[in-house]
């Protein structure tokens, strides 16, 4: 009887302790993708050592402003499909929205 009692006691304490320890050790994924433990999270950071600069004269990143701009006369073949030469180049919106949307990115009817 003493053995049964002891076994029961040890089992109960063991299960309880293990469960409590598990509860304390859990790192929740939170339902969000950045800590899922699959070892890719670090890829959300860019590799260290990127050196900016080297944007010499004529290195442009912005779109044209306003209507009527045509694309450069291309020539050659590209992996992408070029927009028709007759197409006027789109730009950013000319009208504000007074807020409402989140985030950004470009956009804009000519």
């Amino acid at each position: 009887m003493n053995n049964i009692l002891l076994r029961g006691l040890v089992l109960a304490l063991g299960v309880g302790t293990l469960t409590v320890l598990l509860a304390g050790c859990i790192v929740p994924a939170g339902g969000y993708g950045y800590d899922d433990g699959v070892g890719v999270g670090v890829d959300y950071y860019e590799p260290y050592g990127a050196v900016y600069g080297g944007w010499g004269p004529g290195y442009h990143v912005a779109p044209f402003r306003g209507d009527g701009h045509r694309g450069a006369v291309g020539g050659g073949t590209h992996a992408y499909r070029s927009a028709p030469a007759s197409r006027s180049m789109p730009s950013l919106p000319s009208h504000g929205g007074g807020g409402g949307g989140r985030g950004g990115g470009g956009g804009g009817r000519r």
């Binding site: 859990i26 402003r65 450069a72 730009s91 950013l92 470009g106």
Partner: protein
């Protein structure tokens, strides 16, 4: 008598024997029940932290019926020091923050004049790793799984499989064929409208890449962009990606004199004065990576980094036509 006596004796002894026999199993049972109770408490304690999802806000509130595939609809900073990042962006743009926390994940939603502008998420850099915090670009899509299929067929790598984020929608993280990281999001509340950003809001994005030609083709397959070629110096390309008759982003050649640089997406915040804002970046502990310079639209562009090293752009978009003439 004897029989009666034995019987009486038996009757008088029996309850003791029964009690003694029942007592030990009862104690065992009691301890087992105690153990189960402790286990229940442990599970009850653990379950909320395991199950509680990070409740991220929708990108559009109230929900809209607008969908703009290929538009960059959200940006999110991944940083190892959320407090420092919040202090910097609050000082620079006047953003305010609402903290969101679930389990071990810390997130801050950024606002400008009460309007949500970005998300900031804390993530430690593993010990021994040298990595740079960055702003992630979120592209609007209709079907994340369909985009994943096309992306994989065209040389992309999945960094995080499609998954649902409560209230926000379904998203997945990829590296494009040249290695630039981006996110696709099928927003459950629609996409933001196409309007001109206010100062302090995100206005533009550029992909700086080692192979603009191939990358433009890749993103065209994903988002059905129109691709325009803009005038550029010999040896470099400047492409414009458009959808819905709107300019969405540029694709530029990675400068060849920066061999350690890597393909990446760069997002720009609209500012009224790039020179003043660049000085403010430095005063707040950040760095200027590309000095303010006039771009083809007649406003200045600069690239800066926050104190943790995350790069982003500053872009003037004057209210009037062509403020200055860019150098060619």
């Amino acid at each position: 008598m004897n029989s009666q006596s034995r019987s009486n004796q038996s009757n008088s002894l029996a309850p003791h024997r029964i009690t003694a026999q029942r007592m030990k199993p009862d104690r065992v049972g009691r301890f087992l029940r105690l153990g189960l109770f402790v286990a229940f408490l442990g599970i009850a304690n653990a379950t909320p932290s395991m199950a509680a999802p990070l409740q991220l806000p929708a990108i559009v509130e109230p929900a809209s019926q607008e969908h703009h595939v290929g538009k960059i609809v959200f940006v999110e900073l991944v940083t190892p020091d959320l407090a420092a990042a919040k202090k910097f962006y609050a000082g620079l743009f006047g953003w305010t923050f609402r903290d969101i926390q679930a389990g071990g994940t810390k997130y801050a939603e950024a606002f400008l004049d009460g309007r949500p502008v970005a998300g900031l998420i804390h993530k430690d850099v593993p010990a021994g790793e040298h990595r740079q915090p960055s702003w992630l670009s979120f592209f609007a899509v209709g079907d994340v799984d369909a985009v994943k299929k096309v992306a994989l067929q065209n040389g992309a790598k999945v960094l995080f499989e499609p998954h649902n984020v409560p209230d926000r929608g379904q998203e997945a993280v990829f590296a494009d064929p040249q290695g630039a990281v981006f996110v696709v999001l099928a927003s459950s509340t629609g996409d933001p409208p196409d309007v001109l950003a206010n100062p302090g809001e995100w206005i533009w994005s550029s992909l700086i890449t080692s192979d603009p030609d191939a990358d433009a083709a890749f993103y065209q397959k994903l988002f059905n962009y129109e691709v325009f070629e803009l005038p550029a110096n010999p040896g470099v390309q400047h492409l414009l990606l458009a959808s819905d008759d709107y300019a969405r982003a540029s694709v530029n050649t990675l400068p060849v004199n920066r061999p350690k640089a890597h393909p990446h997406w760069l997002n720009y915040v609209r500012v009224e004065d790039a020179v003043k804002m660049s000085a403010k970046v430095v005063a707040l502990g950040g760095r200027v990576l590309v000095e303010p310079r006039v771009d083809r639209h007649g406003g200045k562009v600069a690239v800066v980094a926050d104190p943790l090293g995350a790069p982003f752009g500053l872009l003037e978009w004057p209210d009037t036509e062509s403020k200055e003439v860019p150098s060619e």
